[in-house]
């Protein structure tokens, strides 16, 4: 994280001066743009027979520039100076350290103080972690979490394994909320016009104003809040509204559910949430729904788990089938058996045409190509054939028409009540947010707003530019901003109140299924933050009720020490769902409340399905093709990691490469290869995107599989604040229209002539092997790229192929596994435990949860943009995406890649100092304090999973980050190699427990961080010597194969080959899956 400050500054100038980095004597930033010659690529692909995979198009193109790019990357050149230390001053420093080098071993450790407690908490055992249940309140629904706490410092966030919704899985954003809390840039004080004030002085001013406004019923008092997720906050507001009937409460999030709610209102006459039961669905049709993409999609954890649950093929040959129609390449799209790219403007027409083909509603036909029509008919036929066992899922970014069509289709197919259920909305106060925001801005401009209280929102940054929120704000008497950072909004507000993180406060929230979770503080607020409950409570008659008491009152009633029988719940709106939700009724209420806090959620609060019927004729036909011409469609999407910008200052989220694009520390103008070619662009060209007269500039990036004629811009970057977020990428809100927040036609792209050096982290590892060893000999290609073409790194079959030939994963070139004895080296003995891992490629949805979990568990440092760009990202597990097939409509395969813990490990044999050695249980151990940094091991690793600390990446100085570290894992310094350890600290902890009890380790007792985080249980870890263990059984599964096992590394990590449930008829008609 240390380097990110300067990197941020560098990138800030990128638009004009992309080469500014060169001033530091660093020529690595000046990697030449890669030239695309599509014809060549196509020819190359056409020549490939059978299943051939590629990592990036540039590599296929075989351009000299690409060779140069790879050549300049890891690991051949480590001689350049990245840090501002000049060569001269470095030599000075080195001279001094050389002189000391001989004595380094003799230096004494500094004295270490011990600060014992004055009174120790009775339940604390220092050195043993404690676990507490809580929930991460996210706009799409709460994620119930289990927090690992070391001496009352939260050090890891994971899904709550006992909760019916997550069952232990999580996602990258939930994992990264940990770093969000320890973010050193968080605001630490209450500010009034930039000066520190005590909280009470705000409270005094606020309450004085409220007292004044009491007579007028709160006229001129406005609240602008992020989507309210807390039933308690909703209850507080609804009670406060009784005192101040004229006050207004507006919710706005830039990524909201307006499309869904607008459609629901139209179809059902009320706000309704849809719950999908994918465990019941054999055929899934996603209409731009990225339900496997992450917490951005409501119900992700459950949907991903249920989806993967029907693809495990354990003792059955039944599996589900996924169709995806989408304009933007998503993770879900690449998991689909059949995928169709359709521009956003035609999504509605496609949905209606599909509905019409299923006999509901009418579509104005025409305009569909043969390919599209065939696809549509094929999907319709499959849906009809599996009526009642299928589901149509509309995406949050698809227009309301798509949702209406989906409602109608699910109804017509008889899915409602089986695979689809309608329920109360998870959000207690659903609204059409953009409409509300527009009227708020109108009121602000009209001078009707005296006090604007902004709760956890950053409207100056996120409100579409055409509404010009900042100007409107200047016409407001007093603006109060409650937020975690002194952000764009805080800088122009009168009052800023530092917000407590969800790990520091009491609140509540509902998860997808409706179950209420209690948000509990895990740590005393680091900076004494406040929360929305305390502010809104001021409107009530008893303004000093704490957040805890407010939450308790919502679910327990008002009687503080609850009498038997309990008080009546304070049902307000749909906050508390009648007495069934009330913890307090009957029996020992206090005991049950404590149980709720222990469990983290209130039992039996899940929604019951609502009996609603979509109104007939709700799907009005739309013309199939809107005006096209040469105008581009600009589509807006939240960033996969930083979302709408709220996680932009979280280093992990910036650094973890986005799925599919592999973008890190950046956002780009993403378009298909054909569009790029048509516009005469090349990757890394700087382009100016214009929409409705507003302009931003970005780098052009080609994305396989995206709809032609569409440019995708991602929200959440281009922040003005933060040591991490500041200056990264462009701000897409500047061209976002409030009328069409997700896509609009009529955009244009202009090549500026400049170069925008996009940070993409693909192709890290040069293939240095000589031709006789299978390499190209000149070191111009990436290893994965070379190997993927013919080494069987990805193996998969269609269901029919699998049925006919279950051995498919072991037949063909480079797919044999040598016998154990075939080695020059003596075989190791594994007497007791032999750790192994199995990764199910059918279940992996590429969501990156494992990577984020690994960062948190193993104290992995953030390296910054420049270092990431030159391939020095430190992540111990990466997700390799292999593309297959044509450029315009490729398929993709995700493959999580960690250390394979080879039994014949090539790394161990080349280490000159014995820093990487074999354990009796088969781990390749990395002994950091022995490592001298020769990097021989990394060069000799066929999987390229070893990461080297080229510079001092670990942040030893920032106090808040020190609190976050996992105390069980060393923080690595400069010059040390590191890699996946199979979470050896967890293995050791369990071994000690088992040894104490004199028993063998139970299967499933050790869970690696990636395994724990995986929402689809794709990763299984255990003892392969125990033949009854889950992992041992998976190892004997016929589809299990080892990557590069033919070179006799005997990897302990193996993969279960994927099987695709292809619709044979459709595939034949479309010409897909032809071998």
């Amino acid at each position: 994280m240390k380097n990110t400050v300067q990197n941020a500054q560098l990138t800030a100038q990128n638009a004009e001066l992309p080469m500014a980095a060169g001033e530091n004597g660093n020529d690595l930033a000046q990697i030449e743009p890669k030239k695309l010659t599509l014809d060549e690529v196509r020819a190359k692909l056409a020549n490939q027979k059978g299943k051939k995979f590629w990592r990036s198009v540039d590599e296929l193109a075989d351009e000299p520039e690409f060779a140069e790019l790879v050549n300049k990357e890891f690991p051949s050149q480590a001689s350049e100076w990245i840090d501002p230390v000049s060569r001269r001053s470095f030599l000075k420093v080195m001279g001094a350290s050389m002189a000391l080098a001989g004595l380094a071993g003799c230096t004494k450790q500094p004295d270490e103080p011990i600060y014992p407690y004055v009174t120790a908490p009775s339940d604390l055992i220092l050195g043993k972690p404690a676990y507490f249940a809580s929930a991460f309140p996210f706009t799409t629904g709460a994620v119930p979490v289990l927090i690992k706490s070391a001496a009352y410092r939260p050090i890891k966030v994971d899904g709550n394994p006992e909760h019916p919704y997550t069952r232990g899985g999580s996602d990258p954003i939930t994992q990264a909320t940990l770093l969000d809390m320890y973010d050193p840039d968080r605001s630490q004080h209450v500010l009034y016009r930039g000066e520190t004030r005590p909280w009470v002085s705000f409270l005094g001013a606020f309450r004085a104003m409220l007292a004044d406004k009491k007579a007028s019923g709160g006229q001129g008092v406005y609240f602008l809040s992020a989507t309210v997720t807390s039933p308690t906050l909703a209850r507080q507001w609804q009670e406060g509204k009784k005192n101040y009937p004229q006050a207004k409460f507006v919710q706005y999030d830039p990524v909201n559910r307006d499309n869904h709610y607008a459609a629901a209102k139209q179809a059902f006459g009320d706000y309704v949430d849809t719950q999908y039961r994918l465990d019941q669905a054999d055929v899934i049709v996603s209409l731009d729904a990225d339900f496997l993409g992450g917490v951005q999609f409501p119900g992700f954890h459950q949907l991903a788990r249920d989806y993967a649950g029907k693809r495990k093929l354990q003792g059955t040959l039944q599996m589900n089938r996924l169709y995806v129609v989408e304009p933007v390449t998503t993770l879900t799209g690449f998991k689909a058996e059949h995928r169709l790219a359709v521009p956003p403007s035609r999504m509605a027409a496609f949905a209606q045409a599909l509905a019409a083909a299923l006999g509901t509603g009418s579509a104005q036909g025409g305009g569909w190509s043969d390919h599209e029509a065939t696809f549509l008919q094929g999907v319709a036929a499959d849906l009809r054939a599996s009526a009642g066992k299928c589901v149509v899922i509309p995406g949050e970014f698809a227009p309301p028409e798509v949702h209406l069509a989906a409602f109608a289709m699910n109804q017509a197919l008889g899915n409602v009540g089986k695979t689809v259920a309608y329920s109360e909305p998870v959000n207690p106060m659903p609204s059409i947010q953009t409409d509300d925001l527009r009227s708020l801005v109108a009121d602000m401009n009209a001078g009707k707003v005296d006090w604007l209280v902004i709760l956890n929102a950053n409207p100056v940054y996120t409100v579409p530019a055409d509404l010009d929120f900042e100007t409107a704000m200047s016409r407001v008497g007093t603006v109060v901003h409650l937020g975690s950072h002194v952000d764009e909004t805080a800088q122009t507000s009168h009052w800023h109140i530092n917000n407590a993180h969800y790990l520091e406060m009491w609140s509540d929230a509902r998860s997808y299924d409706g179950t209420v979770s209690i948000v509990q503080p895990m740590i005393e607020p680091l900076y004494g933050g406040r929360n929305a409950h305390e502010i809104v409570q001021s409107l009530l008659d008893n303004p000093d009720v704490s957040a805890y008491d407010a939450v308790r009152a919502t679910w327990m009633g008002n009687g503080a020490p609850l009498a038997k029988g309990g008080a009546q719940p304070q049902a307000a709106g749909n906050a508390a769902n009648g007495s069934a939700n009330n913890v307090a009724t009957g029996g020992d209420a206090e005991f049950r409340w404590r149980k709720v806090l222990h469990d983290g959620w209130i039992a039996n609060t899940a929604f019951t399905p609502k009996n609603v019927t979509a109104k007939a004729g709700a799907t009005a036909g739309q013309p199939a093709r809107q005006s096209s011409g040469n105008a581009l469609e600009i589509a807006f999407r939240p960033d996969a990691n930083v979302y709408d910008g709220r996680f932009a200052n979280v280093g992990w989220m910036q650094e973890i490469p986005r799925p599919i694009t592999n973008l890190a520390w950046d956002n780009a103008a993403q378009m298909s290869y054909a569009t790029m070619e048509k516009l005469g662009l090349q990757e890394d060209d700087e382009v100016e995107i214009a929409l409705n007269g507003k302009k931003i500039s970005a780098g052009a990036l080609a994305v396989p599989g995206q709809a032609d004629g569409v440019v995708v811009v991602t929200l959440g970057q281009g922040r003005r604040i933060g040591r991490v977020a500041g200056g990264v990428g462009y701000n897409a809100y500047l061209i976002r229209p409030s009328t069409a927040p997700w896509s609009q036609t009529g955009g244009s792209l202009r090549k500026t002539g400049g170069i925008y050096d996009i940070c993409v982290t693909k192709s890290h590892h040069i293939d240095q092997r000589a031709p006789f060893a299978g390499g190209p000999g000149e070191g111009t290609h990436s290893l994965e790229g070379d190997e993927s073409l013919d080494r069987g790194i990805i193996r998969y079959a269609t269901l029919t192929e699998y049925r006919n030939n279950p051995e498919f994963a072991h037949e063909g070139v480079a797919r044999w596994t040598p016998e154990p004895g075939e080695s020059m080296f003596p075989a190791y003995r594994y007497d007791k435990n032999a750790w192994g891992m199995s990764i199910d490629l059918n279940s992996c949805v590429g969501c990156n949860a494992c990577i984020a979990a690994c960062y948190a568990e193993n104290n992995i440092p953030v390296v910054g943009r420049l270092q990431a760009k030159i391939g020095r990202i430190m992540q111990w597990i990466r997700i390799d995406t292999y593309f297959e097939g044509d450029l315009s409509a490729p398929r993709a395969h995700y493959q999580p890649m960690t250390c394979h813990q080879c039994e014949n490990a090539p790394c161990e044999q080349v280490c000159p100092v014995g820093a990487t050695v074999h354990s009796p249980e088969g781990l390749n151990m990395m002994v950091y304090n022995r490592c001298v940094g020769t990097r021989y091991c990394s060069n000799n690793c066929p999987y390229k999973v070893r990461r080297f600390n080229f510079l001092l990446y670990s942040d030893y100085d920032t106090p808040s980050l020190a609190l976050m570290r996992n105390p069980e894992v060393s923080v690595r310094s400069r010059g040390v190699m590191e890699k996946c350890s199979y979470c050896v600290q967890r293995i050791e902890a369990v071994k000690i427990e088992a040894d104490k009890d004199n028993r063998p380790i139970r299967d499933g007792e050790i869970r690696t961080a990636c395994q724990q985080a995986c929402p689809t249980s794709a990763i299984v870890f255990g003892n392969i010597n125990d033949k009854t263990s889950e992992v041992a059984k998976l190892k004997t599964e016929i589809r299990t194969y080892g990557v590069l096992a033919d070179i006799n590394t005997r990897p302990r990590t193996t993969y279960v080959a994927g099987v695709l449930n292809v619709n044979e008829e459709l595939a034949k008609a479309l010409g897909e899956y032809a071998t």
Binding site: P113, P116, L126, D995, N998, R999
Partner: protein, 295 residues
């Protein structure tokens, strides 16, 4: 031009070569010794502490049990440094005016920690775990020495890696019955002080310590024997008084279940090997694997 150096200077040159070699070797040896010297390891050094706390007085003199202060030694990697509250349990009533205890009273009054200096300080890349050692028959004094005889705390052993490996390569030489973990004066079995041990059926899932019972009194003699194992009513809190001599009067004898077959051990090696087997200690190959201590 005559030669500058006479032939005789060849001898000098040879000498200086040898001398240089010797010097380098000497330097190496010196550094090697320095590395192991108390100057680096701080072995035996008494750190400046805010309160000159005497383990000798509290353990030997007053008979405080180790776990009274180091509470988490059996259940956590960290043995625990007592909170000020523990001191005040007694010192709220005795020695309430003692000047030496002023930092304790100050801490109690202000809520600020007493700032001790760590005596047994391992490097940050070493992950030592107390609980497994204590539960598997390594006593406090094996590593920390005769704490009961230390007026001011110091480090008895170097705690360097070679010292750790000494035992990890051959744990038998230091194993003792878990009943004797907190016995500072434990010297191992010998002809003069034999130890009798018996093992019950080893059941998986029960702590090993519960299946082994040892005694220093001859169980064949009449009058019952003392029961000594972690399975007692107060697990972990064993009826032993630090500093008392082996074989001296302990807490009241507890009758052992009949039918146990006792083996008499008269040397540490035999006892160690017996315990090694019954405590289910990992073998040296596993114990010396890097990941045991480094992660």
């Amino acid at each position: 031009m005559p030669q500058i150096f006479d032939r005789s200077s060849n001898a000098l040159a040879r000498m200086s070569l040898i001398l240089t070699g010797l010097l380098i070797i000497a330097l190496g040896l010196t550094l090697d010794e320095l590395q192991r010297s108390p100057w680096v390891t701080r072995q035996g050094q008494r750190a400046d502490q805010p309160v000159p706390f005497s383990h000798k007085h509290h353990v030997e003199g007053l008979g405080l049990q180790c776990q009274y202060c180091h509470t988490s030694v059996e259940e956590s990697s960290y043995a625990g440094i007592p909170p000020t509250k523990t001191c005040m349990n007694c010192h709220a009533q005795i020695w309430t005016d003692a000047q030496l205890l002023e930092p304790v009273r100050h801490s109690w009054a202000t809520g600020e920690s007493i700032t001790w200096t760590r005596v047994h300080d391992l490097p940050d890349y070493v992950f030592f775990n107390h609980e497994i050692h204590v539960n598997k028959g390594i006593g406090c004094s094996t590593c920390h020495g005769r704490v009961d005889e230390m007026p001011i705390m110091y480090m008895q052993n170097s705690l360097q890696m070679e010292w750790c490996l000494n035992c990890h390569r051959n744990p038998a030489k230091n194993l003792r019955p878990t009943s004797e973990i907190y016995n500072m004066a434990w010297k191992g079995a010998s002809e003069l002080n034999p130890v009798w041990c018996a093992s019950a059926d080893v059941k998986t899932g029960t702590p090993t310590a519960e299946s082994v019972t040892c005694t220093e009194a001859n169980p064949d003699l009449k009058g019952g024997v003392q029961m000594a194992s972690l399975s007692q009513a107060l697990p972990g809190l064993h009826p032993q008084t630090a500093g008392t001599l082996i074989g001296s009067e302990n807490t009241g004898p507890v009758l052992l279940p009949a039918g146990l077959h006792y083996t008499k051990f008269t040397n540490q090696e035999a006892l160690g090997n017996f315990l090694l087997q019954h405590y289910d200690i990992r073998n040296p190959r596993e114990l010396t694997s890097c990941e045991v201590c480094h992660r």
